[in-house]
């Protein structure tokens, strides 16, 4: 174990900023400190670096209590990159050389120091920048030079405070990759970061911090959940898992919920957009019949709509079919999406026919039916029947127009109801 924080409690002024913090950092590990502004991430880093003295608790680095080390010794063990922006007209070489300060006595710079500085600059891909003025570099380049300065410190632990804030997306990725590469070759890191996606992409472990307390710790999948993000950041998000990589997006916002029911006959993702759009507009949605884990099924379930479903890869049963018809009866509108039809879901066309007969049906057709018909003549005849029963102005080839048509119809209906 490289670093251990035990029972850390820190007071600034009259307020407690860190409360009973405990965690460990193993060799080769990247730990992300995640939390909103003012949660204590920077304070924790400064406490670990020994700048802020805790009122309780100990921090061990390599088995040594850091309160017994002076700042010069600490700077050899830990490379700390503050969030404070740096500005000076020093040359890039001089800035990187500052990383050698903990090893330099008065003004004696040895050739080995210069060599280490040059290597550090090379590691961040800025060889040849030595004589450029720091103040004349771009934001991304400055941050890379500062990173080289920290690398030149040759410390096993990196303490990085928001190393990517204020940078554009390509610089963010570059900086994080450089840090990752460095850790792979050399030691470990604690990174304060408020970009949740960046944190989960680059950190092995996350500590979720709320008002100076660790509320959750572990691998990104375990730490980042809809609930924990709402609790700590007060934000409503959807958490996606792309093959173990956690990603959050702002949760969709729903308009005032109406009592208009729309049933969607879909499958294989053909209903995805319609479902989401209608849900956002505040309609009550249902769908069926779908196989469990079908991507439309996932969408409706996520949005907590009603689904009539069958187990994966199984045919629509009589029972589900009658439930589907029941649902159609209850609904104000029914939409038949651009789904593919096979023997398994042929009954969905029968259900759509029923909807067409009761003049509730809207059709979304993007592709020619033949190209998505895998159930032969019977399906084709059924579909033609459905088309015959549906007016031309209820057939659409894109979601936007379809939904607009439903909305127009609704406002007309309300108007006629009122009069």
């Amino acid at each position: 174990m490289l670093l251990e924080v035990r029972g850390l409690k820190l007071v600034l002024g009259s307020s407690e900023v860190l409360r009973n913090l405990n965690f460990k950092l193993e060799r080769g590990e990247t730990v992300g400190l995640l939390g909103p502004n003012g949660s204590g991430k920077s304070t924790l880093l400064r406490a670990i670096f020994g700048v802020l003295k805790p009122v309780e608790g100990v921090i061990y680095v390599d088995g040594k209590n850091i309160s017994e080390l002076n700042i010069r010794e600490i700077a050899r063990k830990m490379g700390y990159l503050p969030q404070e922006s740096a500005e000076s007209r020093l040359t890039v070489r001089d800035v990187v050389l500052l990383g050698r300060t903990p090893y330099i006595d008065s003004l004696k710079i040895k050739p080995v120091d210069i060599k280490i500085a040059e290597e550090a600059l090379e590691a961040v891909g800025l060889s040849g920048f030595e004589d450029r003025k720091f103040s004349e570099l771009s934001g991304g380049e400055k941050q890379k030079v500062l990173l080289a300065r920290v690398f030149a410190q040759k410390s096993e632990i990196l303490l990085l405070d928001e190393p990517t804030s204020h940078l554009d997306i390509s610089s963010q990725i570059e900086i994080m990759s450089l840090i990752k590469k460095r850790i792979k070759d050399y030691g470990s890191a604690i990174i304060a970061i408020h970009d949740i996606n960046l944190a989960s992409a680059y950190c092995d472990k996350l500590l979720l911090i709320k008002r100076g307390r660790i509320v959750k710790a572990g691998v990104p999948e375990a730490v980042i959940t809809r609930e924990s993000i709402r609790d700590v950041f007060g934000a409503d998000v959807e958490v996606k898992n792309f093959g173990g990589r956690i990603h959050i997006v702002p949760a969709a916002r729903r308009s005032a919920i109406s009592n208009i029911r729309v049933h969607i006959i879909c499958g294989g993702g053909s209903g995805n957009n319609v479902i989401r759009n209608l849900w956002e507009k505040g309609f009550m949605i249902s769908a069926g019949v779908l196989n469990v884990l079908d991507s439309d099924w996932v969408t409706v379930t996520e949005l907590k709509g009603d689904v009539i479903d069958e187990p994966p890869f199984s045919k629509i049963s009589e029972k589900s079919h009658s439930e589907n018809l029941e649902m159609i009866k209850k609904s104000d509108f029914v939409i038949l999406t651009n789904l593919s039809v096979g023997e398994g879901n042929l009954k969905n066309l029968e259900a759509a026919l029923a909807a067409a007969e009761s003049e509730k049906l809207f059709i979304l057709e993007k592709d020619d039916f033949d190209s998505r018909n895998f159930a032969g003549e019977r399906a084709k005849r059924l579909y033609e029947k459905i088309l015959n029963l549906t007016q031309e102005n209820r057939r659409f080839n894109n979601e936007t127009e379809l939904i607009r048509a439903i909305e127009v119809l609704l406002s007309d209906k309300r108007f006629t109801d009122a009069s």
């Binding site: 700390y80 503050p82 969030q83 922006s85 001089d94 500062l146 920290v150």
Partner: protein, 325 residues
């Protein structure tokens, strides 16, 4: 600027210092020039003027110029503020009060004026430092504000002292304007030792000053105990400036302009900038003093000349740097 160039530049400045020394000895209002220096050196008048007057005077000017420039340079780096100068801690106004008191109560011997000015200067900077300290830290802005406020207060005190005793007004005002006409070997001793020691300390601090340039948090991150270092630099600068002011009065702009001019030539790296400023100050001051004592029949206070030359030059730098950055 590469290292080799900065070495050459420093050699050039050393040469300029040498020339300044020669000129300071070789010219003067008495009309004794280089010629007499070699042909008539046995003449007791010539040797008296050279040895007892021009030599200490020129050396004092060099030390004062070097000291003010070095202190200005260090404080500009420490505060990361281009407007910082050696008098930022209220040293000049403190020294003025000290000198004024001694002159007005009628005990104005050289040693009394120097001692009073020095002690009051030091005392003022201590008070400013104490007021500017918040907890255990010394935030730059509180220190600067405390210095400005203290200077304003003490200027008021000096004005009051001058006002209530109109008899010696001339002498006090003359002292405040700054000059080297009362130079002697005693003053040289007073000024040289603190300035030499302080300057050496500052030059050895130039690496840490570079780190501070990046920001205090960044200096901390490379293992510098920033608060302690700040205290040391402030104390050393105050000591140095107090010594300079006590023998020469308030000579403005040298400590502000010299580091700026050098920065434009050698760049920001204090390892080069500090020695360059120091040597440039040492060359500049005797030249200005030479102008002060030869331009008219009488003698113009040096502070007037530095302000007349310095302020327009500063404005020029300001315009230029605005175009650059």
């Amino acid at each position: 600027m590469k290292n080799i160039h900065s070495t050459q530049f420093i050699l050039l400045l050393l040469f300029a210092d040498f020339i300044a020394l020669l000129f300071g000895i070789g010219f003067g209002s008495s009309g004794i020039g280089f010629k007499q220096l070699f042909t008539d050196s046995a003449n007791p008048l010539v040797s008296a003027i050279i040895l007892n007057y021009r030599l200490p005077r020129t050396l004092i000017a060099m030390f004062v110029g070097a000291g003010l420039a070095a202190a200005g340079c260090s404080l500009q780096a420490l505060f990361r503020n281009p407007l910082a100068d050696p008098y930022i801690l209220g040293v000049s106004s403190g020294a003025s009060v000290g000198a004024a008191i001694v002159i007005l109560i009628g005990i104005a011997s050289t040693i009394n004026i120097v001692t009073a000015a020095f002690l009051m200067a030091l005392l003022t900077s201590i008070v400013v430092y104490k007021i500017g300290t918040v907890g255990e830290r010394v935030p730059v802005y509180t220190l600067l504000l405390a210095g400005v406020a203290m200077a304003a207060f003490l200027s008021g005190v000096t004005s009051l002292l001058i006002y209530i005793s109109a008899k010696d007004m001339h002498q006090v005002v003359f002292w405040i304007m700054g000059g080297f006409w009362t130079a002697n070997w005693f003053k040289l001793q007073v000024v040289s030792i603190p300035i030499i020691l302080s300057s050496i300390y500052l030059i050895f601090s130039s690496w840490n000053l570079n780190a501070i340039l990046m920001g205090e948090e960044h200096a901390l991150s490379v293992g510098i105990d920033v608060e302690r270092f700040k205290k040391k630099i402030i104390i050393v600068s105050a000591l140095l400036t107090s010594a300079a002011v006590s023998v020469s009065g308030v000579i403005g702009f040298v400590g502000l302009i010299t580091p700026h001019a050098m920065r434009m030539i050698v760049g920001e790296d204090n390892r080069t900038l500090l020695p360059s400023s120091l040597l440039a100050g040492a060359a500049f001051m005797p030249f200005v003093d030479l102008i002060a004592r030869t331009l008219t029949d009488g003698e113009i206070p040096v502070g007037i000349i530095t302000a007349l030359l310095g302020a327009p030059f500063f404005l020029y730098l300001l315009r230029r740097s605005r175009d650059v950055t």
